[in-house]
Symmetry: C3
């Protein structure tokens, strides 16, 4: 089990480190723009950084969940690669949003697409496992058999 998940584990730890980096940026922005907790509104520069971090935090559990269901039920390698791409796009999203509200859009779209790919992988993997366990049907074998008939 541990052996089959070391790639997912590595991407997960990178993701946690990225969230820690975003949190630190909010702390620095609070100091720079003099916005003391519990206040969360201030100059647009502060609000953009605050919202960028809030948005990444909100998606973090969804990302981790999709990464692991995709990695466990579909493919660890493909999921880990997608995970790295997602984390890189989130970094570019954060930097872009800190610059301007428009700067967040391009990397946000790519990160959303990567998340959809992970969700697709998870769905395929779970459907395949479900058929194998509960219906005793191996879809890959059936597919190979069907292709052989052609």
């Amino acid at each position: 089990m541990v052996e089959d998940a070391v790639g997912l584990g590595a991407v997960t730890v990178l993701g946690v480190l990225e969230q820690a980096y975003f949190s630190l940026q909010v702390i620095y922005a609070r100091r720079k723009y003099s916005v003391s907790p519990p206040t969360t509104s201030g100059p647009p520069e502060f609000e953009r950084i605050f919202r960028a971090q809030a948005n990444c935090s909100e998606y973090f559990p969804i990302f981790i969940t999709a990464l692991w269901t995709s990695g466990v039920f579909f493919s660890q390698g493909l999921s880990s690669v997608c995970g790295l791409l997602y984390l890189y796009m989130r970094l570019r999203y954060f930097w872009g949003y800190a610059e301007s509200a428009n700067g967040r859009l391009a990397p946000l779209y790519v990160s959303a697409q990567v998340l959809w790919i992970l969700i697709g992988f998870s769905s395929v993997g779970i459907f395949h496992t479900f058929c194998r366990v509960y219906l005793n049907v191996d879809l890959l074998q059936e597919l190979g058999f069907a292709l052989g008939l052609l």
Copy 2:
């Protein structure tokens, strides 16, 4: 392991899809009520949809955590059924909250109760496993023995 968790995995992917649906509703509401990021305040109609999504996002990791601890340590079948009920109630909560602040209450209470059931299952399952692993006591067997003595 993968075989024992396919039901939990399916509920998890449904939960991720539900969160994606909520996020899309916030994007549509931002357009409809002209509330551009990073602003999060606007007309009450927008704020209700925004808060409904924020609340569901906040509870998502708690739900996923309780679903899996309950499924792994107690029963996959019962946990998956509770998980489906929770996700359905969250959908009704979101729709109800979008209508009116009061509309969120009834499904919120049910979803909270389902979450408590999952927490209860987790606690029982973990306590049982703990007794078996560290105290070498099988509570189910002891219970059966005690009942047999009556």
Copy 3:
């Protein structure tokens, strides 16, 4: 698998219960200070409790993720102890923040340090597993061999 994770499972359920407790405090504060949803601003007493809960919720998935990667790839015992300490510090953070904005700082720093320790454990454990699985190198054995040469 289940046997090796019962400590992590117990800390996880405690963490879920703590989040439930924080959520209840926000509900009580909403009643006490008459702040009806979807509004999230009000008197500073309310805003501190609201932000304390929001901050704990934001860190909850990061904590759970670090707890499990550390527990699975490094050591269940050490991770569980760190997890208990983290949850205790989050409780003191919440109570401190409810009193005053300054009251949150000391326990926040300790909880952040415990989180860094869990991230460190995870990194070491994943690096060690990676070397063993993909490079066929057992770092512990190599280290013992190197020490034996001295």
